[in-house]
């Protein structure tokens, strides 16, 4: 069973990286760009039959390792 996880910085948390990328894209002439935020993406495969159980496990991985809950939000999607 495969899941995708996207991890993004919480709103209001400074995103120095996004800022630089946005400025660069605008300088490169992409002037219709309104905003860009950068985050992380994981593709996880777990060996489980039961989807709820599997999802719970993936959620645990996020909480315990993949996500810094103090500054990041995350979303899990089955793929």
């Amino acid at each position: 069973m495969k899941f995708s996880i996207t991890v993004t910085l919480k709103k209001d948390v400074l995103d120095p990286q996004g800022k630089v990328v946005q400025n660069t894209l605008i300088n490169m002439g992409m002037n219709n760009l309104k905003s860009i935020r950068q985050g992380k993406h994981f593709e996880v495969e777990v060996e489980d039959k039961d989807q709820t159980l599997a999802e719970k496990k993936v959620d645990m991985m996020c909480k315990k390792l993949l996500v810094n809950l103090i500054i990041e939000d995350y979303k899990i999607t089955k793929i």
Binding site: K10, D12, V13, L14, V20, N68, I70, I71
Partner: protein, 726 residues
């Protein structure tokens, strides 16, 4: 909106203090004003609990250009050169988010140093963690170390020294202290004191966001029912922007545009503007609508209390705005005139053409409360350890235990994560007693070291306070530097607790005595109270950061043995003091008794004479003897090199363990060319320095005759093993 008691408390103010506020401004403050007061009157900005004690520290000397009171201390190192340095804590943020907490700690202390006109040339840190076995320790450790590296490496300033300690007392409250050292020209030092009326107040650097807005945290929903919930957010460091800010500020400092400059640290815009006005004895008016904001709909309250990083406030001379703006534009940084100086002696805050807050500057600064908190003396424990009653242990096993312990293990796994060589002036990187950094383009250098001894300070705060200053002084001497001045970071528990306040007062007393005697003044520092909970406070942990001068750098001196068959001399007398020693702690888990006595006279005499020997070029390597005693110091000298030792036991030895593991102060081990021994002995004798010849260096083996013989390679392995198995 009515200010309730709950709101007052949420701002960290006492009801008593609120009454004083009302009296000072002759009315009830509004919420914005309350926020400003809370920022200025908190412990961090006002030093309300510590001030009367700090006053006792010696802060003057021929070498001092600027003592405490400015962003950082400034000392004279001869010619037209000045060194600007300071240490600061970032304990609480680092416990919440270790990477960002440590990173922004480094960023903050760097700003303190470059606001004064210095180019930073070295970073140091003192980091204290709980027991390695505590479940939080490992991730805190890894996070803090990479945060320190992440910031320093990116901005391109070498992190050259530090200390890393583990102790259960920090299980729920780690310490992260960062120190920055910069170099400036003596006649190009910038201060925060404002001067002149109607001068432009300029905001430069990053935009303001809702970072770390403390007071309001929980109650914020109540403050403004219509707005969405605004949780305080963790400050995220942006070393890239700080690098730009550094270069832009230094560029602007080349001409005479700046009247006054101040970084926005804790309490950001509030403390920077109030401090400038207060020192200049004038008023300041800010038009908050002009503040560059990162988020939409930020309120004046949020702008004034935001702790967003990488920002500065500058007061400019007339007609210099245009040129200054050009410089900041070049570096892609915001540059906005947000206000002006006034003759009202008020902090005046405008928003959308309305005055939204107005407070007399003196109410925020000089009239802030100062407390003479109750404190109690520590009743010293007695030394009652009977060695005969302890389980017998082999000297070899005891040594291995120490060298492989987390506290004494080699820290290269940490320091390899720091760029120590960038700027190409690092002459001695971390690993020795002090780091040596050359002054760019000159043949002189400074030596720097940070030191603390929480166990000693806990047991006997006065002695402990004295000891850390001496150890720090010794570390600089050991690399051939003349110690000039210190900065200190005073990490303590809750000052409202008599005992803790007593630890504070007494540690300071000890620091004072040592600094006075050694002519080693305090030029800057930082106090961090409320470490731990009221019931469980951390051990008193003052950290001393020292700077010394090497006038003429020929070749660097460090603690690594240089060759075989040289003579080893132990300077200073060994009494065998084992109470509070690493030996008892690591081998028997005993943490009892008093720390070793500190004899300032011997300390000074031994140090000054060693410095004389170093300057005469008699010393091949030298190392101070501290935690772990003589044998630990000797093994550290071996581990760094490929040479071992052959040590003879002294003839009338009472106790082997006491001799080899005792932590008596004022001692150094020196390696000298055997042919120079007579000359060295003469100088030591002529100057009443106690010394012993303890043996020789030899190839490959670490040996104490009749007791132990280990290959130096094994010693190295033992010393380097801990982290890999952690």
């Amino acid at each position: 909106m009515k200010i309730t008691n709950q709101i007052i408390e949420k701002h960290g103010l006492k009801l008593e203090e609120f009454k004083i506020i009302k009296k000072l401004i002759k009315r009830e403050p509004n919420l914005l004003e309350l926020g400003v007061f809370s920022a200025m009157w908190n412990e961090h900005c006002s030093y309300k609990s510590s001030r009367i004690h700090l006053k006792k520290l010696p802060t003057k000397g021929k070498q001092v250009i600027q003592g405490p009171g400015e962003n950082a201390g400034v000392i004279d190192i001869g010619d037209d050169d000045a060194i600007i340095f300071k240490i600061e804590s970032h304990n609480h943020p680092s416990f919440i988010e270790p990477y960002q907490g440590a990173a922004t700690g480094v960023g903050g202390i760097l700003r303190d140093v470059f606001t004064m006109g210095a180019r930073p040339i070295a970073l140091l840190n003192s980091i204290h963690f709980g027991s390695p076995k505590h479940p939080k320790t490992k991730s805190l450790l890894n996070g803090v170390v990479s945060g320190i590296g992440g910031y320093g490496n990116c901005i391109g300033i070498p992190t050259v020294a530090g200390e890393t300690k583990f102790n259960e007392t920090y299980n729920e409250n780690i310490l992260v202290n960062a120190m920055a050292v910069g170099h400036a020209k003596k006649d190009k030092i910038f201060y925060s004191k404002a001067k002149g009326i109607n001068k432009s107040v300029v905001y430069v650097g990053s935009k303001t966001g809702r970072d770390g807005i403390h007071g309001a945290s929980m109650a914020s929903a109540e403050f403004d029912e219509n707005s969405e919930e605004k949780k305080p957010t963790v400050q995220v460091g942006d070393p890239f922007t700080e690098k730009l800010l550094l270069e832009a500020c230094l560029e602007l400092m080349k001409d005479n545009s700046i009247i006054s400059i101040q970084d926005m640290g804790a309490a950001g815009l509030t403390s920077s503007s109030v401090e400038m006005a207060s020192k200049g004895d004038l008023g300041i008016e800010l038009d908050l609508e002009k503040v560059p904001c990162r988020e939409e709909n930020m309120t004046p309250y949020e702008m004034m209390l935001s702790e967003s990083q990488e920002r500065m406030l500058i007061i400019l001379e007339d007609h210099k705005e245009k040129n200054a703006k050009k410089i900041f534009d070049k570096w892609d940084l915001d540059f906005v005139i947000i206000g002006k100086t006034t003759n009202t002696n008020n902090l005046t805050l405008k928003f959308k053409n309305k005055i939204v807050g107005e407070i007399p500057i003196e109410a925020l600064a000089s009239k802030a409360p100062i407390y003479d908190r109750k404190w109690s003396k520590r009743k010293p424990q007695k030394n009652e350890i009977n060695l005969k009653k302890l389980k017998k242990i082999k000297i070899e096993d005891a040594l291995i235990k120490i060298l492989s312990s987390p506290n004494h293990s080699n820290k290269s796994w940490i320091t390899d994560q720091f760029d120590q060589n960038v700027m190409c002036d690092t002459v001695q990187k971390s690993g020795s007693d002090a780091a040596i950094v050359r002054i760019h383009n000159k043949d002189k250098a400074i030596a720097v070291s940070v030191d603390s001894s929480a166990n000693y300070c806990k047991s006997h705060p006065i002695l402990g306070g004295k000891q850390i200053v001496c150890e720090n002084w010794r570390n600089l001497i050991a690399v051939g530097a003349k110690p000039l001045a210190i900065t200190n970071c005073l990490n303590f528990g809750n000052p409202e607790n008599n005992e803790i306040m007593g630890e504070f007062a007494e540690c300071l007393e000890g620091i004072k005595q040592a600094c006075e005697f050694l002519n080693y003044p305090v030029v800057s520092g930082n106090v961090s109270f409320y470490n731990g909970t009221n019931k469980k406070n951390i051990y008193p942990t003052p950290v001393i950061g020292g700077v010394g001068l090497i006038k003429k750098l020929s070749k660097p001196l460090n603690h690594e043995f240089k060759k075989e068959n040289s003579t080893l001399v132990l300077i200073g007398k060994t009494f065998g003091h084992l109470e509070q020693s690493c030996f008892l702690r690591e081998n028997y888990s005993i943490i009892d008794g008093l720390p070793p006595e500190v004899n300032l006279l011997n300390e000074k005499n031994n140090g000054e004479n060693l410095l004389n020997l170093i300057e005469k070029n008699y010393i091949l390597s030298s190392h101070d003897v501290s935690s772990g005693g003589l044998i630990t110091a000797l093994s550290e000298m071996s581990i760094g090199s490929n040479y071992g030792v052959k040590i003879q036991k002294p003839k009338n030895l009472t106790n082997l363990m006491k001799y080899f593991f005792g932590e008596d102060q004022a001692r150094y081990i020196i390696e000298i060319d055997t042919k120079n021994l007579p000359k060295v002995e003469k100088i030591l004798k002529d100057n009443d320095v106690y010394y012993e010849n303890i043996g020789f260096t030899q190839k490959d083996h670490f040996e104490i005759e009749g007791e132990l013989k280990i290959s130096t390679k094994d010693l190295f392995k033992i010393n380097n093993a801990w982290y890999n198995s952690y």
